[in-house]
């Protein structure tokens, strides 16, 4: 990591860290520093700054955005430069031109807490009205939030299962972990009306909205939550993309949210859902096996290669990756979010091979 110091025209000093693989603009945004930018591809010159000291690699860019003369004077473009050492930069803009988006921390009350299948809880929270954020629940479908119990050292991250809304509602599908701290709180202490602290929304596991390929979702257990959120958003926006869902649990009694999947069809008539049970000990007429096995079977069909959105335990991600590779799906068309074996998506896979932009400032794995 290199240290970057950006001195604005009105004299403010803004520091962030950058590694050698990201552009300075990406590095800044990752640190919640949003300098002015427009094209983000070295064409408009909006992000031009002057290098005072240090070394940066300048990638190709348009001469209209950065003339030879400016280049000679030490100017670089934040969107087309990577740090090669610590850097000192001066900007032609004022501090007010730089956006900052501190991560929201809000309180919410439990509205509903209900078992779903033998191992899952559905938890619904409602944000309290907030002077900065109002009542609305703003997030991007697929993101997660970190929930904390006030006054207790209990904190866990869970994906949101619903869509952004103006009523302030947050829906989570939570796997009950025997001995898990948050699980214990939910089972034993939590009641409707209890207050929780919500950090976030966070995460970049969201739809690539501009892609045209069909969207296939592969979900293991409560990895269904972000898939549900994205599918529900597609339904809400009458999105025409063909889509499939492969959702699996280990045993029949663990199944949950089947009504929610069914309800999706009203807005997404094109949705094909395959519910998988890995070890169906009782009568089961659905797919017997894992979601990645069901995926492998479907990928044998003719048709355009889909984008894959995968969420679940590391083993499911790994299995899906190899199925996808065998079917000729490029690594950068697989978007995944791993669960830790504990609870919730605590380990975010933001830096896998296919790292790329979803939209400015957001990196998707």
């Amino acid at each position: 990591m290199f240290k970057v110091e950006l001195l604005t025209r009105d004299g403010a000093s803004i520091a962030f860290e950058a590694d050698a693989t990201q552009t300075l603009l990406e590095a800044a945004e990752r640190a919640s520093v949003y300098p002015p930018s427009s094209c983000r591809e070295g064409g408009c010159g909006v992000c031009r700054v002057t290098k005072v000291s240090g070394d940066a690699e300048l990638l190709s860019c348009s001469s209209a955005a950065l003339s030879e003369k400016e280049r000679a004077a030490g100017d670089i473009l934040l969107c087309r430069s990577r740090a090669r050492s610590d850097l000192q930069l001066t900007a032609t803009f004022d501090q007010t031109a730089i956006g900052s988006a501190p991560e929201p921390v809000r309180t919410a009350r439990i509205v509903e807490i209900a078992p779903q299948g033998s191992t899952t809880l559905r938890l619904v929270l409602q944000y309290s009205d907030d002077p900065t954020f109002g009542q609305a629940a703003q997030f991007v479908a697929g993101q997660y939030a970190e929930l904390a119990v006030p006054g207790a050292p209990i904190k866990r991250s869970y994906s949101l299962a619903n869509t952004p809304n103006w009523d302030g509602l947050l829906e989570f599908l939570i796997r009950i972990q025997p001995g898990g701290a948050f699980s214990g709180y939910l089972r034993e202490t939590a009641t409707a009306g209890a207050e929780l602290i919500v950090h976030g929304p966070k995460g970049q596991f969201t739809l690539d909205e501009s892609a045209l390929a069909p969207r296939w979702f592969v979900a293991g257990g409560t990895g269904l939550a972000p898939a549900l959120s994205m599918l529900r958003q597609m339904a809400e926006f009458a999105d025409p993309h063909p889509c499939r869902l492969f959702f699996g649990v280990n045993r029949v009694e663990e199944l949950f949210a089947l009504d929610a999947i069914e309800a999706l069809r009203a807005g997404l008539p094109q949705l094909q859902a395959t519910v998988c049970v890995w070890k169906p000990e009782v009568a089961w007429s659905g797919f017997a096996g894992t979601p990645s096995e069901a995926l492998a079977k479907s990928l044998k069909e003719e048709g355009p290669r889909p984008d894959l959105y995968v969420c679940g335990p590391p083993a499911l991600i790994a299995a899906t990756n190899s199925v996808a590779a065998a079917a000729g799906i490029a690594q950068d068309r697989i978007f995944s979010e791993k669960f830790s074996p504990a609870e919730g998506p605590v380990e975010k896979s933001t830096e896998p091979p296919g790292r790329r932009h979803l939209w400015p400032g957001v990196i998707v794995g």
Partner: protein
Amino acid sequence: MFCYQCEQTFRSDEGAGCAGTKGMCGKDAATADLQDVLLHVCEGLGQYLHHARALGATDAEGDRFLLFAFFTTLTNVNFNAARFVQLIAEAARLRDRARALYERAARAAAKIPENLPGAAVFVPASDMNGLLAQAGEAAIRKDAAIVGEDVIGLRSLVLYGLKGVCAYAHHARVLGEERPEIYAAVEHALDLLAREPKDIEPLLEEALALGRANFVAMEALDAANTGAFGTPQPTQVRVTPVKGKAILVSGHDLKDLHEILEATKDKGINVYTHGELLPAHAYPKLKAYPHLAGNYGGAWQDQQKEFADFPGPIVMTSNCLIEPQARYRGRIFTAGPVGWAGLRHIAEGDFSQVVQAALALPGFPEDVEEKTITIGFGRTAVLGVADKVIEAVKAGQIRHFFLVGGCDGAAPGRNYYSDFADEAPDDTVILTIGCGKYRFNKHDFGTIGELPRLLDMGQCNDAYSALVVATKLAEAFGVGVNELPLSLIVSWFEQKAAAVLLTLLALGVRNVRLGPTLPAFLTPALVNVLVEKFGIQPIGEAKADIAAALARAA
């Protein structure tokens, strides 16, 4: 993809044009290619409508669709590839209907219907991949190697000018003003383009014909806006927020703004205009709403920061949308021709969700100290003081008028326009039109007698006003517009500006200074034509250009 329709197109030593995976505006390759296919199918639609019209048969739905479809392809309007697949299917349906209309009309006139060539017989594929594979057939440069760059440049000028005409005409249409001559001109241009013309002269003539059609479109738009909302009056607009719930409305669509004002009546929500919608505050029927609270933010290219900071929902009613940032993606709505995949879209003017969002979002926590600017110097206001203006010119108090008009943009060279306004001598008047003014409209330019030195005439959509004022002043002084002590300093960005430029040329206005760069689709030979025929000049250095303008006038 290949696109070079706007000023920010990618430029390098090898040439200009956005190619590769994404344009400078954020338009991706698939969307760009689908837009090309849509325009190609529209050419076919235009061909049949043109031929049908010659036989006295018209199809209002087809004509209106053309305006809308072209509008969606302007820079910064619609980025939603899936939407273009639907529009292509709709265009094909209307084209088939227009073919039937033409054939019926021909038979009724005892004529054998012609077999129209080119786009008329193009069959769009039924799925996305097929359509993308067809993009080559629809590309603007497809036969560049055969017809040469000058022809391609002029076809581009016609196509992009046409986009501007369509955008203006669409705005007028939604408020109920339609002119058959605009539709005739649109169809004529499409028919010409579909025949893949190879000669310079007819293309130049077509460009000027579109300039004239655009004058009609701007007249219709002016009639639509003033008819619906009254005549703009000089008005002080607050540019700082007031405490309370808030909605921000951007773009140009006065009708959408009006509907939002209606939907928020008595709900304790303040409505702010953003950027290009600033002139709305000058219309009596709009400014009568007490909750039309003010104007927030500057020109379109600053929207990512401004929208992120705005504590309420944002509605984009027409152009100019840029890639929405995660921080406000959930509370930005598109309407009409605008689109971005994954944003909520309001198709039928039902803004109830926006109202809900405004109530759920925090709004401004407190009043910010009041600051205002004065706007609303449309033709009626300026001509209302024409006597004083003429006297001041005769008495030597006003030496010159500068019309600093056109777009703003992100390119660094655009400081020229604020430098120009700041450097203009105290005995000159600055008229503004379009977004370029955001760079300097909060500066204090003082007055000449009782007349403010800075007169804001409105949006780019109000260029008509400026032309009427120029024509009336010329009449009053008994000279031609080119003999007036008036210089036009025009900044362009996208295709409406191209249409306005064609109008200026068609009306014989000379010596326009154009910047910050010349259109990439104009070859050196075409630029020469513009320089020789119309005296167009590129912008230089502000001080020197002012001196040259004053010297020419002296």
